[in-house]
Each structure stands twice: as C-alpha cells, then as structure tokens.
Symmetry: C2
Subunit: 135 residues, 2 copies
Amino acid sequence: MDFVNHLSTNNIKPSLQRIKIFEYLYDNREHPTVDTIYSDLVSDIPTLSKTTVYNTLKLFIDNGITSTVTIEDNEVRYDAIMEEHAHFKCDACGNVYDIEIDMSDLKFKKMNAFKVEKTNIYLKGKCNKCLITKN
Amino acid sequence: MDFVNHLSTNNIKPSLQRIKIFEYLYDNREHPTVDTIYSDLVSDIPTLSKTTVYNTLKLFIDNGITSTVTIEDNEVRYDAIMEEHAHFKCDACGNVYDIEIDMSDLKFKKMNAFKVEKTNIYLKGKCNKCLITKN
DNA sequence: TATAAAATTGTAATGATTACAAAATTATGT
DNA sequence: ACATAATTTTGTAATCATTACAATTTTATA
C-alpha cells in the first residue's frame, strides 16, 4: 500500500502527520480511538498534537478514505478499510474485529419508502479468546 | 400497553417520572435524545431534572426495557421497542425510522471465532419525503 | 406518626470534541 | 534563491454532553 499515493489521489496533501496517521490506521486493524492513535504516534512524532489527529481524521472522512465505527455511545473508533464489512465487538475484552459479510442477503420489508445509501452492521458477544480464558 | 405493569414486572418501581418517560419513549417512535425527552416532558412535569432523565434511561437499559441507538457519533438516541428490528436514518432530515428485518438471512464468514449475542443493523440514505421535497 | 429507604433534583466536575489564533511549514511568483 | 502567500500544525481556551455527588423530597416501613 502506497500511502502517499493513496492520499494524493484522494485530494489530500501527504504531510508527514497525515501519512503516519493513515499508515497507523491501515496497519492497526483494531479500530483505534483518537487517544490510542495519539498515544501510539507521539513517540514517533514528538510534536504531534491531539488536535491534529482530530483534524486529520475529519479530513480523511470528508475525503472518503476513513469511516467512523460507532458501536458504543461513549467511544468513537476509526477504520481505514472502506470495503464492505461488518464488525464484531467482544464485550469481555472490548476488542472490535472485522467480519466478512454478504449484505445482499439482507431482506428488508417496506423499504420502498427509503433510498438506502449505506448499510451498517455490527455484532456483539464474546470472542473465543475470552470464552476460553474467563469461562 | 400498561406502563405501570410493564415497569413493575421488570423490577422498576413505577414512579411518576419513570412512567412518563417510558410512556414518552414508547409512544414517540422517532428515537428521541435525552434533550428531546427532557424538553417535551418538562411542561408536563415542571420539576423534572435532566439528571433524572439520564438516571431513568440508565435504569431502563440495565433492566432491559430500553436500548440505545448509536448511529452518529455525536448523538445518543433511545428506543423502547425491544423486538428485533433495524433502523434507517435519513441524512437529509435526520429522522430515524424503524425497519422490519429478518436477520436470520445474514451470512457471516469465519464466525466460528465468536459467540454472537446481539446483531445491530442500521441503514443510511434519504427518506422519500426528503427525496420528493428537496430534489 | 416517626424513621428508614429510595427517588429526584441542582450544582459542580469530568472528559471528549471543537474553535480559534499563533507558529511552523510548504508552495508560489519573481 | 528569496520574499510572500497559502496551508498545515499546534496549544490553549471554549463548548457540550454526561456523570458524580450531596441535599432535598418523596415513598415505604415499623
């Protein structure tokens, strides 16, 4: 994945901060929060500001290369994978995993009243790691 | 719907505030926010406090008669309908509608790694009202 | 009716996000 | 290359939703 090129082709000038933040998001698939992104990157970019993380993520979202994952009402997570997929959140360890899904199987009723542009799915439960360890 | 009985059978003492808040949630199916609930009820219960609305909704959720609807990362909505259903949010007018859905049709891959307890689905797009009016 | 328990309320504290202006960096025209 | 303009980054302060907490009010109990 050529991050510089990916940013450029999406009308985002590839500054150091933007490259590093996108790279982090793309490589760390656990859907990190702003705080996690900031904490993990500040050692690499000592001048990094949390405001920059917020600004940059908003820029990514506006240009369609990142999306938010809102499962809990008190934490916003970010995801750089834009292909159709769903999420699973383990309510024991709190981790959020990607899930492959075929949304074409979904059958909605009375959908003539709406023009659907995006379908979001997330599951909750226990991941195997937590089932084995804690139970 | 006998609200007093519904609260009682779910281990919630049916105080005036609790009855009114649940009644409001159950009758107003547009998934209101705390602010909306408070604003609409304070004329009816002049002493009502926003803290009470927060406390009461938390109590409802803990006792399984209400759930949160988290579609946007900056607004928490509440829903008293606990039967399986999905949501549609119109990003023109902002309204959230209920949708009937058969989740048994969903096919996930690699799901052996998880024990799923709850499936959440929401769609985004434009409702017919907005498509006709604004376009 | 007195006392204890529970519910409600108002205010203050918290924490995430945003606004904003200054500083730093990068691009542009000559 | 240099001066100037534009953009990006940064830090601080403001905002807003939510929570903590203690006081008050209401309800239950003996």
